[in-house]
């Protein structure tokens, strides 16, 4: 068997794969946005005094963190339309990207909820009490004192979560969405797999570079945001 690996062609595939970058970014941003909103609701429920709300949110977090993203995608993409059809709803016209965005939002919301909860708790009761002691209302105290501090604490974890989410977008290919991974597969299939090693290396390099950019942004955001505030944390 002859060696068909042509490393010099790897870079040539990058522009082709990058054509699907907007799709990947769209999935990333929408999932992050919806996941954050969901996560905030779940974190609020988890921190509330209501036992039922606390148990429900803990159960949700446990389930979403325990189930592999790919399984969730198949459950939602294959399972949900089947159940919906039984009650007379036809889901076959729904865009596949929507399933992916829904799955990733659900999945990341659990991680983001845990991040928000722990950052909130890390701020400490004394900060709130001090705000109350000078006559602030509880929402004002949250907005002006607790939230800015919790956000600073959350930045590194948030960066990490975004990186995980970015990599998870590649699972979209599993149900035929043409994201960057899907595009790579298509390029490979077009030449009957003869160039698949090079194509997937190109795809991997793109993801890696994107992650490096995210990591760098997260570090500089943390530095800029917490400047002078908590020296012990860094």
């Amino acid at each position: 068997m002859t060696n068909t690996f042509k490393p010099e062609t790897i870079l040539g595939y990058i522009p082709g794969v990058l054509k699907a970058l907007p799709i990947t970014m769209e999935i990333l941003f929408l999932s992050l946005l919806i996941g954050s909103i969901l996560g905030a609701l779940i974190a609020t429920a988890n921190l509330s005094n209501n036992i039922l709300l606390r148990k429900m949110s803990s159960g949700y977090i446990s389930f979403m963190r325990g189930i592999p993203t790919l399984v969730l995608i198949f459950l939602l993409y294959l399972g949900l339309p089947q159940i919906a059809l039984n009650i007379g709803i036809d889901m076959s016209n729904i865009n596949k990207s929507i399933y992916i965005i829904a799955c990733l939002s659900l999945n990341t919301s659990a991680n983001l909820a845990e991040m928000m909860r722990s950052s909130y708790l890390a701020v400490g009761k004394g900060q709130c009490e001090a705000a109350y002691s000078i006559g602030m209302k509880s929402f004002t105290a949250f907005r002006r004192i607790v939230l800015p501090q919790a956000f600073g604490i959350a930045i590194p974890t948030l960066g990490n979560n975004i990186i995980i989410l970015l990599k998870d977008t590649s699972l979209a290919f599993a149900i035929g969405v043409i994201d960057m991974m899907g595009k790579g597969r298509a390029l490979s299939a077009a030449s009957y797999g003869s160039n698949r090693l090079e194509v997937y290396m190109a795809t991997g390099i793109i993801f890696w570079v994107l992650c490096i950019i995210l990591e760098y942004s997260s570090k500089s955001a943390e530095k800029a945001y917490t400047k002078g505030r908590k020296q012990s944390a860094s």
């Binding site: 009490e129 000078i134 908590k230 020296q231």
Partner: protein
């Protein structure tokens, strides 16, 4: 009514643990009341029930004729009461995300609705009084404990409260920093503001207090003028406590 602060029959429990067992206290305008007592006696809890950081289960609290019933109070009543009081905390609790100046200005801007320029002017004056003018652009984590606590005092003072509550203001400090904070508190006491101070500093109590209160087991055991109370306590429990601490 001629009293600035009136506490009537204050009861407080945490779960099954009864901390305050019906405390009564009347404080006149301008009085400096020092509360002494062993740990677990309920002195800090008593202080915290006054501004509802812990809400008492029973009793009533009134500050400059604004009375709140402890087992039947609304959110707006609590906020109103908190705006008549201010607190200095054991661990300073300065807002970590704000500079010293911003810490002091915060209440003026958010609660008293000053504009920024006015707030800054008044804040600088008060920071000057506590000797922190040069440190006004520092963050709390960049200051010593004594400096942080003086900033905490400035943050409380600027709200122009009817009564100012000190919760063991020097307990978390290095011994050599205690003096500067006590001097600041002493200066505050000379302005005629009503103060309630929980502390273990007996010599400070002797010098500054107009009344000393000894608490144990959720009750007031004895109270009186510092010259009488600290020198010739009547109750055996007070005698024992003072002997141990001095």
């Amino acid at each position: 009514m001629e009293y600035m602060v009136q506490l009537e029959n204050i009861h407080k429990s945490f779960g099954k643990n009864q901390i305050l067992k019906g405390v009564n206290m009347n404080i006149r305008k301008g009085e400096v009341v020092v509360i002494l007592g062993p740990s677990g006696s309920g002195k800090t809890t008593l202080l915290r029930t006054i501004n509802f950081l812990d809400s008492a289960n029973e009793g009533s609290i009134s500050v400059s004729n604004f009375k709140v019933n402890c087992n039947k109070h609304s959110k707006s009543q609590v906020i109103e009461l908190r705006r008549k009081t201010a607190m200095v905390f054991q661990n300073y609790n300065l807002f970590q995300n704000k500079t010293i100046l911003e810490n002091v200005m915060e209440g003026l801007i958010v609660v008293k609705k000053y504009n920024k320029k006015e707030a800054k002017k008044v804040s600088m004056e008060i920071l000057d009084k506590v000797g922190l003018l040069e440190r006004c652009d520092y963050y709390p984590s960049q200051l010593s404990g004594g400096q942080q606590q003086r900033a905490g005092i400035a943050r409380a003072l600027i709200m122009d409260p009817d009564v100012i509550l000190f919760d063991e203001p020097t307990s978390a400090l290095d011994p050599e920093l205690v003096g500067e904070v006590l001097n600041t508190i002493k200066a505050v006491s000379q302005t005629g503001i009503t103060m309630i101070v929980v502390t273990h500093e007996i010599s400070f109590a002797k010098e500054v207090a107009s009344r000393v209160v000894f608490m144990e087991g959720g009750n007031i055991v004895e109270e009186g003028k510092p010259t009488e109370m600290l020198v010739n306590p009547k109750e055996p429990r007070t005698q024992q406590f003072l002997k141990r601490i001095i």
